[in-house]
Amino acid sequence: MKFLFFGIVLLLFSCGTNSDGSQIPDAENLCKYSKWLRISETKDLVRIEIINPDDPSKIVKLQLPNFKSKKNKSHTYDLENPIQRIAVLSSTHIGMLGELNLIDRIVAIADLKYVHNKKLKNKIPKELGEEQLISAEKIISSGAEMVIYSGFSNEFPKQELLHKIGIETIPNYDWREVHPLGRAEWILLFGYLTGHADGARKKFEEICSNYENIKNRIRGEKSILTLSGNMTGDYWYAPGGDSYHAQLFDDAGLSYVFSNEKGTGSLALSFEKILGITDNVNLWLNPGFQSKTQILRSHPKSRLLKPLKLSSVFCYSHNTNKYWELSACRPDLILSDYAEIKKGSQMEPDNLFFYQRVQ
């Protein structure tokens, strides 16, 4: 019985692994930063592996022909042709396809309310709703060949049924990546699935180059003690010292107050503790609101924080959709914003891409 169960689980998460999968030669993993995405390529074949961060033994494997190659008919693939009609359930997926100029391929999304891309807004794709409550009928009627989802739960609703009728469901764990470039690297997944691998690689190299250039340029500049997060209920939630945001702060040369606190997730602290340890803090990033009034209404005692008194608070909340859509694939632009914010009084507000001073 246990073996049967194990077999079913393997079948579910293998996403149609090829019968001749063992024949694929071990090629180099093209992903340098990502922890949960592996892509290897030979002249004829592309192998994509998406690892479940909660259980790394669960790997979604996809085998595609190398669309550049002419002689790719000797294998049975999970995808025979590049995806032309895709349903994406997260803003970051839209951002990545947008960077590849492939917005036209999107036929369905979760909710139009959270879309920033004007072209997509005008196109009015089908709205599928939240990932966990999604209707298979809506997906089918959208005409999507593939659904990319965020993998909040273990399984996509009606995954097996959709697979039977030829609609593949692929999880995207970009949001679980800790390295900013690791998160951006998921652009390669979209590139390979849509037949735009070269474009995706070029774009990613450009992002990496921008990121490293900014990082090197600001290295050695005077650091600013920085606070991040906000009060939610009775506690202040801030990114842990090993988290994605902490990495960005570090690369931007910002001295993050919780950089020594272990953990890739959130830290929960009392406001008393925040006030006690942030006496010398001069910058507050990501308070979650676009105005001081909103911050104070949500938590009036925030007025005691020095950065608020100094008006040294910055957030992306004036255009949340833009941030969520583009920040994952463009960490270079976040870093560029932090570098500009670091200039203090010399800062040029027009040079900020995502952020704005909280007034």
């Binding site: 009060m231 939610t232 209920g233 009775d234 506690y235 929960a268 602290l269 009392s270 406001f271 008393e272 503790k273 006030l275 006690g276 006496d279 979650g288 609101f289 676009q290 909103q294 209404r297 949500s298 938590h299 009036p300 005692k301 005691l304 909340s317 949340t320």
Partner: protein
């Protein structure tokens, strides 16, 4: 029957407990502070001293709010139980809180200027509590069964939460975030500047309650007796709903909905004092309510290093089994 002397000893002990817990709460927290800091924070305050800021701006308002909220919600619960002659009545269970929540949701999620302001929020919460109080009063005249009234309250709560869910689905992210934070319930959001206003409204409402102690005592005997004694039963009922709405709306506006205090504490005091004398019950609810919520708050602070417990979760953890206990006793 516990004698007057025993009642007095019990009440004085609880009062002493409130004082002791308050001092403990003011002096303990994540940042170590001393008695000297407390003295300065209260009588010789300097904004430059972080310890004094923490005591005056963070701990003092939280402890004051625990005292006021516990007392206000318990008295509101006692009034509801007497009005409906039902030990299962309380502002949270009957849905008076739901009225406040609905109005606050309409205000915050609609984003309309005035309703989105602090004054608008308080007004919305008070209005919602009063209108729902009257609605429950009207409906109660058709419900003979005590458990029926409880079920009605539960249904009202579900109905309101469905409307709120629909409102949330169509609202902007910022408004949704503001409402979600408010609905979590917290004693931490009140500032030291707001305490005098809250305290003034609370004390005035307490005085108003003292004036209706006699009719409350007679109401226990039945409506006919009340009429024979020359009281206008309709007016008394509306006055009780009004006072309950003031207590509940005030606390809900500033702290969000806080569950079960208004149900558990009045029942506890009735069990302990075994009396229908509302003067004694009123004092007991004021003191026991304060003591209860203050204890919950101190417990949360004590365990905050190992476990994060929202105030609502702890009051529900204690209050819900109490409701089950009363229900089982009733059904037997």
């Amino acid at each position: 029957m516990i004698g007057i002397k025993s009642h007095a000893i019990l009440l004085i002990s609880v009062l002493a407990g409130i004082v002791a817990l308050s001092f403990y709460g003011l002096l303990s927290g994540d940042i170590p502070t001393e008695f000297n800091d407390l003295h300065h924070a209260l009588f010789d305050y300097s904004e430059q001293n972080i310890n004094q800021v923490i005591i005056r701006e963070i701990r003092l308002p939280r402890i004051m709010m625990a005292i006021i909220s516990g007392a206000a919600l318990s008295v509101a619960g006692m009034l509801m139980q007497t009005l409906f002659q039902n030990p299962l009545a309380g502002p949270y269970v009957l849905g008076i809180n739901s009225g406040s929540s609905l109005m606050v949701a309409l205000g915050v999620l609609s984003g309309v200027g005035f309703f989105n302001s602090e004054l608008g929020l308080i007004g919305s919460a008070l209005l919602g509590a009063f209108v729902f109080g009257l609605f429950i009063l009207f409906t109660a005249s058709f419900l003979r069964n005590q458990i029926g009234l409880l079920l009605f309250g539960v249904m009202l709560g579900s109905f309101v939460s469905a409307i709120i869910t629909i409102l949330e689905a169509g609202s902007q992210a910022e408004a949704l975030k503001s409402f979600a934070l408010w609905s979590m319930g917290s004693l931490n959001n009140v500032t030291i500047d707001q305490i005098p206003i809250i305290f003034a409204v609370f004390v005035s409402t307490c005085f108003l309650t003292f004036f209706i102690v006699k009719p409350l005592n007679i109401l226990i005997l039945g409506e006919e007796e009340c009429r024979l004694m020359g009281y206008d039963i309709k007016k008394i009922r509306i006055l009780i709903v009004f006072i309950t709405a003031l207590f509940t709306g005030l606390i809900t506006a500033f702290c969000g909905p806080i569950a079960f205090v208004g149900l558990a504490v009045p029942n506890l005091t009735r069990m302990l004092f075994k009396t229908q004398n509302h003067m004694l019950l009123l004092i007991a609810n004021l003191l026991f309510g304060s003591f209860f919520l203050l204890t919950c708050d101190i417990t949360i602070q004590l365990f905050s290093d190992v476990l994060l417990i929202p105030i609502n979760a702890l009051t529900s953890l204690i209050g819900a089994p109490f409701v089950i206990y009363i229900l089982i006793r009733k059904l037997r």
